[in-house]
Symmetry: C2
Subunit: 161 residues, 2 copies
DNA sequence: CTAATAAATGAGACTTATTCTCATTTATTG
DNA sequence: CAATAAATGAGAATAAGTCTCATTTATTAG
């Protein structure tokens, strides 16, 4: 009985993710197809930024490699996917959801994990001021910034030796 | 006469770069070879961070592709070369010279130029404090950080359309 | 200064991530 | 439900970076 309830809960999470995937696609007037739903579901389920390698593993049996890349490009085009390169040179993607505030990234150079971190408002304010100075000094128009922190996720990580 | 003097000056700059290249190599007990000198000279001459593509162009007729990559790996190994990925996904390298202080990068998303920028001491201090907080919250040991600024080098750039 | 040896190089084959092609399948719309 | 445009899968093509191996170069002992 308990197991069954857990299963129901699990099923409903899956259904919810499938629904949000469909919603995301239709909101951006992108046609709703199976590979797109599967990719979005995988990204929603994982929650954190994920390397394309890992994503490919998760979807190996359901989405062709070429389609995966195409879908990722579709999501970038409609501005709901952020792509960047980790310090160990793997390509990492993450969904940009409406409720996802401005944030930065923390990389474990051992296991490759990528974690979203928000920095304090005071810090962001100060960075904005620095950026204004730089803009003037270098005659540059700065549109975006990133703070990357690289280190080791010291404790009890199953993937770090 | 004037031209000749200019030539002499130019020649002496080249000689200086060759000398510093040799010095750099011997200081790190790396054997002094022609490709290594040529790569170091190119990096010293360019001065700014440079994409591997551009570097390859500059050295096309003097250093084999495989050797270029090998030399870059050698320089990374002795910790005098910093490698990172620009927002448009090209690999960028830059020499880390002794007199080169801690700095960050400004990227032009139009022409691809990469510029070194130093941020204020107050800013770096505040970032250090933020990082301490993050370390505690996430049980992470942060070893390094990067601030990347992305924008457009608005004025009179020959390479931007 | 030279010979012996270890290390580095060049050329091109190989690998891997990403994009492209094209025949087939699927979604959308009327 | 049929027509049409768009998306997909499979695998070929491309490009960045690494590897192999025969040849060349740097280093060092004598």
């Amino acid at each position: 009985m308990r197991i069954y309830l857990i299963f129901l809960k699990f099923e409903s999470i899956i259904k919810t993710m499938s629904n949000s995937s469909r919603k995301i696609l239709s909101e951006h007037s992108v046609s709703i197809t199976n590979p797109r739903i599967l990719v979005l579901e995988a990204l929603l389920e994982f929650g954190n930024p994920i390397t394309i390698d890992e994503l490919q593993l998760k979807l190996k049996d359901s989405v062709a490699k070429s389609t995966l890349y195409r879908v990722l490009n579709d999501l970038k085009r409609i501005n709901i996917l952020n792509e960047f390169t980790s310090p160990d040179n793997s390509t990492v993607v993450e969904l940009i959801l409406e409720d996802h505030p401005h944030h930065h990234h923390l990389f474990c150079s051992d296991c490759g994990e990528v974690i979203d971190v928000e920095l304090s408002d005071e810090f962001e304010l100060m960075l904005t001021k620095e950026i204004e100075k730089i803009q003037k000094n270098f005659n540059f128009e700065i549109k975006d910034h990133r703070v990357e922190m690289i280190g080791l996720c010291t404790e009890e990580c199953a993937n770090c030796k």
